[in-house]
């Protein structure tokens, strides 16, 4: 069962773990990314853009910004950084790496992967969520899990399908 992005956003916002952008550029962003991958974006990704999220926990979204005053993109948010790996960035990890949603297959609920900048962005390092909704829940718990030293595999309690992502294994099986 896939949890929807709007529902997760509402839950996390209620916890104070999610912030939204001041300016809503959803329509422009969806058009921009659609042009980038040259086909309609997955339904989950469109929902993600509609939620207009700025951050979750300590993680900043990677969404391009169009500036009306100067009529140009003032922040491309590295949106094309993962094109070679057939993914679209969702969040920065705060240390230069990216979480990106898979666009290699035509599905409405694609998986999310972590792309390590030290690996050259060429392939996903590990699976970070079986869908964008599940990924957002895991991301909100990420730092707390490390601080609390949760055992490997704690993610399965939140996202039981994490081990079934097609392009990479979950983090505790990735090495």
């Amino acid at each position: 069962m896939t949890i929807s992005v709007p529902e997760v956003a509402r839950i996390l916002e209620g916890r104070g773990a999610l912030g939204r952008r001041r300016k809503n550029q959803t329509a422009w962003v969806i058009d921009f990314v659609t042009g980038l991958i040259e086909r309609p974006i997955p339904a989950d990704l469109a929902d993600f853009y509609r939620e207009n999220i700025e951050w979750v926990g300590d993680f900043q979204t990677a969404i391009p910004v169009w500036n009306d005053h100067v009529s140009r993109v003032t922040d491309d948010a590295a949106v094309d950084r993962l094109m070679a790996a057939k993914a679209i960035p969702l969040f920065w990890d705060g240390c230069g790496s990216l979480y990106g949603v898979d666009v290699s297959t035509d599905t409405d609920h694609p998986a999310v992967y972590f792309f390590d900048h030290e690996d050259g962005w060429e392939k996903p390092a590990y699976a970070a969520g079986s869908s964008i909704g599940s990924f957002l829940l895991l991301l909100a718990e990420h730092d707390a899990a490390i601080d609390e030293k949760r055992p490997p595999g704690w993610e399965l309690k939140i996202d039981p399908d994490l081990g079934n992502c097609p392009r990479a294994p979950p983090i505790w099986l990735a090495d």
Partner: protein, 292 residues
């Protein structure tokens, strides 16, 4: 041959030992006067621009002895303290006594150095460093050793996990370990700077990449000197530079020296993108490309 020498000796064969003893006694008694006279002559010759040869230090007493001998012959007086020329010390010819006096003065200076005399000034100058750590009692010399204050660079809640990872260094870090180290890096940078990198629109960059942290097993990958706040374009520059370096290795492991050399090459490229709390950011660069 020994007989011939004995015949030539002014005191005869039987008294050769007495003659040598007398000669050494004369040398000893004349030594101080001869050296003083020699130094005086040397100083006079220097001032007058005369050519007086004394390539070795022992030549100075020899010159003085010759002068005393000539003086005693011309006056008919025996050499002694009363006939020695009066020595006037000059900077060119310091006497052993003057040198000893100078050394004694230096020793006194060492025993009573200026930094001890003015140490109270250092206490005032260093007091703000205690304020930086929010340790007000320490600033006034009232520190309590039993309750150490938590400064900006103390991270007790993170130390255990960090220590656990450091124990395993010496081999390539796993993805789980890198993930945890990055979380700790963000927390450390935020604690040290009083604001998170996210709030400044920045990311935390490891100058020594985690990828090769195992090459420096005694270095904490999250030491503050290894963490840099960077605007995202700066991280892109760093990524490209390290990617080129990685490709240049052809799959081989770099040496720690190679990693350090590459870091020193990359860091100047990042300077325009470095974010430091309290410092204004440089104006954004013109974009590449136009409207979508």
């Amino acid at each position: 041959m020994g007989t011939a020498q004995a015949t030539a000796s002014p005191v005869g064969d039987d008294n050769i030992n007495n003659w040598m003893a007398q000669r050494w006694s004369d040398v000893r008694s004349l030594g101080v006067q001869a050296e003083a006279a020699g130094r005086n002559l040397w100083a006079q010759a220097t001032r007058a621009g005369q050519d007086l040869s004394a390539p070795n230090p022992s030549d100075i007493p020899a010159i003085g002895a010759q002068f005393l001998k000539a003086s005693s012959r011309s006056t008919g007086a025996l050499s002694g303290p009363t006939v020695a020329p009066q020595f006037v010390p000059t900077p060119d010819a310091p006497t052993p006594a003057a040198l000893m006096q100078q050394q004694a003065w230096f020793r006194q200076t060492q025993r009573d150095p200026l930094d001890k005399q003015y140490s109270w000034m250092a206490a005032i100058a260093l007091a703000p460093t205690a304020f930086l750590g929010l340790d007000l009692p320490a600033a006034f010399g009232l520190g309590n050793a039993a309750e150490p204050a938590l400064g900006m660079t103390d991270f007790p809640e993170l130390e255990a996990w960090q220590t656990q990872i450091e124990r395993q260094l010496g081999r390539v870090l796993t993805k789980n370990e890198k993930d945890a180290l990055r979380e700790i890096a963000r927390a450390r940078w935020a604690q040290a700077n009083g604001v998170s990198a996210k709030e400044l629109g920045a990311q935390v960059h490891h100058e020594d990449p985690l990828e090769w942290a195992h090459l420096k097993p005694n270095a904490d990958p999250n030491r503050l000197s290894n963490l840099l706040g960077l605007r995202p374009p700066g991280h892109t520059v760093a990524n490209r530079a390290w990617d080129l370096f990685r490709r240049s290795l052809g799959g081989a492991q770099p040496t720690p020296a190679q990693v350090t050399a590459q870091k020193l090459r990359v860091n100047p490229l990042l300077e325009p993108y470095v974010v430091r709390p309290g410092l204004p950011q440089p104006p954004p660069k013109p974009p590449v490309g136009g409207a979508p």
